[in-house]
Structure formats: structure tokens, C-alpha cells
């Protein structure tokens, strides 16, 4: 497993899922669901990395 994109995909995939488990948490200065949006962005990024790693070179 020397393709760096795979561990990157795993890391951001897990982090994204972790963030999406705590979407009820809110920050002092914003009403936006920051964890939900950031979690979704990280999952998307993880998906792109995984797709790039599996794509035939």
C-alpha cells in the first residue's frame, strides 16, 4: 500500500464520518452546522482520493 492517496482517503473518510456524528454541536458565533458541512466536504475529498488511487494509471 505505497500509494499515498489510500491512507489520505482513509484518514479524511474517518474524520468526515466522525464529524458527521456530532452535527448537533454548535459554535458561539455561527448557527451554521459546521461539523456537517466540513464532514461532508472531507468525505467528498476522501472519495476523490480513493477514486484517483484506484484509477488505472
Amino acid at each position: 500500500m505505497s500509494d499515498l492517496r489510500i491512507p489520505i482517503a482513509f484518514f479524511f473518510g474517518i474524520t468526515g464520518i466522525l464529524l458527521m456524528t456530532v452535527t448537533a454541536n454548535r459554535a458561539a458565533l455561527t448557527d451554521a452546522p459546521v461539523n456537517l458541512y466540513a464532514g461532508m466536504a472531507m468525505l467528498l475529498f476522501a472519495g476523490v482520493m480513493a477514486w484517483l488511487a484506484r484509477r488505472p494509471s
Partner: protein, 551 residues
């Protein structure tokens, strides 16, 4: 600021992954070249991101946000003037000599091009400099985490040092480079939401402009007169000092960043490394500087955010801008990601310094002056031990910084004396075949003395003037830029003068090292997106557009 379980979980996950990458890379290390130079085997997208991530240390993330709050959008000059043009120059013009010479380090290139004494001077000063840079980074980390989270200073630096030691000891340079890429993505994804949330809350770019002095939201418009802008510098000082001497001196000669490009798997990839890296580098001001401006604007609004102040009557505490914004805009969860990104930025800077230090120590000091001709396994062992020693000395330096802040200021100043003239040496060495080893060595010493003399004869914010103050600069930044200009000019002039009085090397000995005697690889058969000149041209167009938009 207090962390929840989810925040610690993200931090633990990150530690697990960086150590995991170290274990993954351990299997690839069989020789000292594998450990210290990655054996020229790393793909270009990885070397490119590592090229900028190695520079994404504490000063970059926390410092640039602080500078954004203090100096405004002019801070973007550190990227658009003070980094990207130099990255284009090294990619297009200098990399063929570094990579083509087969030198394993920048000091080794100096030995091949000039002589042993020039290499020794550069290797010794660089080795000491990297240790102190790593120690300062560690000190900043321990201090920040103590102030923000109440963590113990010693525990913070020992934890970060242990993790960095773990993955660099296992996988050497490749492990450090691979982790720098993970750290880069973490920094971008960890801080981008903060920039977006803070800028939106401050009313967007237009809202920030309304609440701040005009000079805070322009890059060039107020550079005509030093008294009109918060940096206290004028166009010439900015372009010549930052944009030429300091920037080219760092990006084109500092082995910490050059080493990443030299790890690439081909000459073409090595040339493209800084060019590809220039694209994300152009965007970084929006991630690290914009939050600083937003913090300043938010502090003037009835937004619920108060700009941090130093205790007593010390004025604004710019260094705390980033962490106070995180505390207000990130809920538990994303707060853990943000703090992990902050930890990653410290660690990437530290690992960059440690891997550059072990290469220079092993090849340029140990193998050259202590034990020549030993088996490769011996040098691999020395490289690993140097990694341990480098981390241990960095920890010691962090404690030195904690106890003697003034000593650290002085040492950093001395390093700037050494670094400023170095680009003149390389410029003449690579592009003028008549320059000689005696010229380079004397020029470097004279340039260093010129920098020290300028500092001793000028004052800025109470600093300098230790010989006899004859001029006062409006800011230490202006003083640093002019010091660099004088140091570079003196080094350039003295190197030419002494070179003309001493015998040059035979042309046959300079093949592969000097312009005109080196065959620059052709890229005619490469697709357009792999040609250095095409990539550089695209970067220049983007750079002009950014400067025009934020004029």
C-alpha cells in the same frame, strides 16, 4: 478553550496515521540514500505539495494570520512577491543544475561548483540554523498549546517530538515527505472553513473594507510612501528586499525546500515540483491571511468577538488571532480538526528541519570530515542516530528559547545575516563560469559582515543600532529588507572582485554545474502541461491577475 472527546479522537487518529505512514515507508529503507534522499523516487504531485508543506510551519499559519491582522492584505506579498516568483526561477533555471549535478545536498553542490571551504561554511551554518528553527517551532507549539488549552509545555513538546521522531526515524525523508502531504491537506481542510466563516461574518470582502483603513485591504496602492502603509516599506524595498534577496535566498538555496524537489523521480519532475507547488501557494493567503483581517474587522463590530489583547497595556495580541477565531467559529469536532491542523503545521516544519539536518550532517559533515569510506550501512546508522540527535537538540533549543528569548532573537538575526547573501553566491556560481571558490567564500563572509554592520548602524522599533545609530526605519520589517539588500549587494560585488583576481576552475570541471556548460533537458516531446515554461507562464498570468484584483 476546552476540548471534547471527539476532538481528542481526531487528534489521536492523526497521530495514528502519521506513525502508520512511517511504518509503511520503513520497508522501503535499505540504504542511506533511501533514508536521506528518497533515492529520487517520489512522484511529482507529492514532492510539489511537500515543497510548500515543509514551509507551512508555525510561522506560516499562526504568524501569517497575525500579520494579516497587523499589516492587512499587504501580507500577501510574502506569497505573491516573496515566494512564487522565486519558485518559478528555481524550477525553470536552477533545478537542472541541482538535479543534474547529482549532488545529494545544497552544500555538496557548493563543493562541486566551488570548493571544500565554501561547502563547509554553508553546511555548518545550515545545520545549526535548522536545529534552531526546529527548536523555535517546538517552543512556539508548546507555548501556544499551554496558553490556549492549558496543556503542559513539556508534555506538548515531548509528544510532538516523539511523533516526529517516530515517523522520520522509521521512513526517513520519504516518510517525512509523505506525511507533509497529509499535513498539507489537513491544514487546507482544517483552516479553510475558518476563513470562510470569519470573512462571511465580517460582511465579506466589502464589509471588511468598510471597517478597516484603506491601506489594510490593498497590496500595491499604498506602497509609494512608507508612511502610508502599515509595514513602513516602499516599493523598492519590498521588491528588491523581499521579492528578490530574501525570497530567492530562501526558496532557491535553502536545502529544506530544495531537498523536496531533489527527491523527485526525474529531472522533469524535479523542475515541475516548485512550478506545480506555485499554484496552491498562490491560494494560501486566502486561507491563512484572510482570517487575520476578518478578526480585525470583527473586533470593530458588535459581533460577539473581541480581538485578543496582551495583559496590561500591551496592545493587540496578534499571535492569538487564529486560535481565538477557532474558539468562536468551530464547535467541538471541527475544533479538534483545527487544532490537529495546527499541530500538523508545527510538525511538518519540525520534520522538514530534522530531515534536512540529518542529510547535511551525514553527507556534508560526517562523511566528509569525520569518517570517509565507511560501508553504506554505517552511514544509514549514522543518519538514523542523527535523526534522534537532531530531535533531542531541537528539544534543548526549545528550552533555551523559553529561558532566553533575547538569545533566540539574536541567533535568528545572525542566521538572517548568513542567509541573505547566499543567493548572490548561487546566482554567480550557476550563471557565471568565471566565479571562483575564493570569490564565493570571501563574498559570503563580506555579505554577512555587511548585514551585521547595517543592523548595527540602523534602528527600528528599538532594535539594532549597537554600533552607532545613523538611520531609523519605520519598522523592523523595513530594516530586515534593507539589511538583506545590502548583504546581497556586497556579496555579489566582492565575489566578482575576488573571482577576477583568482584562478577559475577548468571548464571541464564545471560541466553540469554552470549555465552554458550544462545541457538543459529538452521537453519538446512532453505534453504542454508537463513543460516547465508553459506551467511558469500560466502561474505568471494568475499572479498578475491576483495582484491586479487586489491592487
Amino acid at each position: 478553550m476546552s476540548l471534547g472527546t471527539i476532538d481528542y479522537a481526531v487528534l489521536a487518529l492523526y497521530f495514528g496515521f502519521v506513525l502508520g505512514i512511517g511504518f509503511m515507508m520503513r520497508r522501503k529503507v535499505e540504504t542511506s540514500a533511501d533514508f536521506l534522499t528518497s533515492h529520487h523516487s517520489v512522484p511529482v504531485w507529492i514532492t510539489s505539495l511537500a515543497f510548500i508543506a515543509a514551509n507551512l510551519g508555525a510561522q506560516e499559519v499562526v504568524g501569517m494570520c497575525a500579520s494579516g491582522a497587523k499589516y492587512g492584505w499587504m501580507t500577501s506579498h510574502f506569497y505573491w512577491v516573496g515566494a512564487v516568483p522565486a519558485m518559478l526561477f528555481i524550477g525553470v533555471f536552477m533545478m537542472p543544475f541541482y538535479y543534474g549535478s547529482k549532488a545529494r545536498s545544497v552544500p555538496e553542490y557548493l563543493r562541486m561548483r566551488f570548493d571544500e571551504k565554501t561547502r563547509a561554511l554553508n553546511a555548518a551554518s545550515f545545520a545549526v540554523m535548522t536545529l534552531f528553527s526546529s527548536g523555535v517551532s517546538m517552543y512556539a507549539l508548546g507555548n501556544l498549546f499551554h496558553l490556549v488549552l492549558g496543556w503542559d509545555f513539556t508534555a506538548s513538546i515531548l509528544l510532538s517530538a516523539a511523533i516526529v521522531l517516530g515517523y522520520t526515524f522509521l521512513g526517513g525523508l520519504t516518510s517525512a515527505i509523505y506525511n507533509e502531504v497529509l499535513q498539507f491537506f489537513l491544514i487546507v481542510l482544517g483552516f479553510s472553513p475558518l476563513a470562510i466563516l470569519a470573512v462571511l461574518k465580517a460582511g465579506g470582502w466589502e464589509g471588511m473594507k468598510m471597517r478597516m483603513a484603506p491601506a489594510m485591504t490593498h497590496t500595491w496602492k499604498y506602497l509609494g510612501d512608507p508612511s502610508q502603509n502599515p509595514m513602513g516599506i516602499e516599493v523598492f524595498g519590498m521588491v528588491a528586499g523581499l521579492g528578490f534577496v530574501l525570497s530567492f535566498g530562501y526558496w532557491c538555496t535553502d536545502f529544506l525546500v530544495v531537498q523536496r524537489a531533489m527527491a523527485a523521480d526525474s529531472m522533469s519532475a524535479a523542475r515541475r515540483t516548485p512550478l506545480v507547488a506555485a499554484f496552491p501557494k498562490m491560494i494560501m493567503p486566502f486561507i491563512v491571511i484572510a482570517p487575520g483581517l476578518a478578526a480585525m474587522a470583527l473586533g470593530q463590530m458588535n459581533s460577539g468577538y473581541a480581538f485578543p489583547m496582551k495583559e496590561g497595556a500591551g496592545g493587540p495580541d496578534y499571535d492569538m488571532a487564529l486560535t481565538t477565531l477557532m474558539a468562536k467559529f468551530y464547535p467541538s469536532g471541527m475544533l479538534g480538526v483545527g487544532l490537529t491542523a495546527l499541530m500538523a503545521s508545527f510538525m511538518s516544519g519540525m520534520a522538514g528541519n530534522v530531515t534536512a539536518f540529518n542529510t547535511v550532517f551525514t553527507y556534508d559533515l560526517y562523511q566528509s570530515y569525520i569518517r570517509k569510506g565507511a560501508p553504506d550501512s554505517h552511514y544509514l546508522m549514522v543518519a538514523r542516530m542523527t535523526t534522534v540527535g537532531g530531535v533531542a537538540l531541537s528539544i534543548a533549543t526549545a528550552y533555551l528559547a523559553r529561558q532566553f528569548n533575547n538569545i533566540m532573537d539574536l541567533l535568528q538575526l545572525v542566521f538572517s545575516f548568513v542567509n541573505a547573501p547566499l543567493f548572490a553566491t548561487f546566482l554567480l556560481g550557476m550563471f557565471w563560469k568565471r566565479s571562483t571558490g575564493h570569490g564565493a567564500f570571501t563574498g559570503l563572509l563580506a555579505g554577512t559582515i555587511a548585514a551585521a554592520t547595517t543592523h548595527g548602524l540602523t534602528l527600528a522599533e528599538g532594535k539594532g543600532g549597537w554600533i552607532s545609530p545613523t538611520h531609523t526605519f519605520p519598522s523592523t520589517m523595513a530594516q530586515n529588507f534593507w539589511m538583506a539588500i545590502f548583504a546581497w549587494s556586497v556579496c555579489f560585488g566582492v565575489t566578482i572582485l575576488v573571482s577576477l583576481m583568482t584562478a577559475p576552475k577548468a571548464e571541464a570541471d564545471l560541466k553540469g554545474l554552470v549555465y552554458g556548460l550544462t545541457e538543459v533537458p529538452s521537453d519538446e516531446n512532453e505534453p504542454w502541461y508537463r513543460r516547465p515554461l508553459v506551467l511558469a507562464a500560466i502561474v505568471v498570468v494568475c499572479l498578475i491577475a491576483l495582484n491586479a484584483i487586489f491592487w
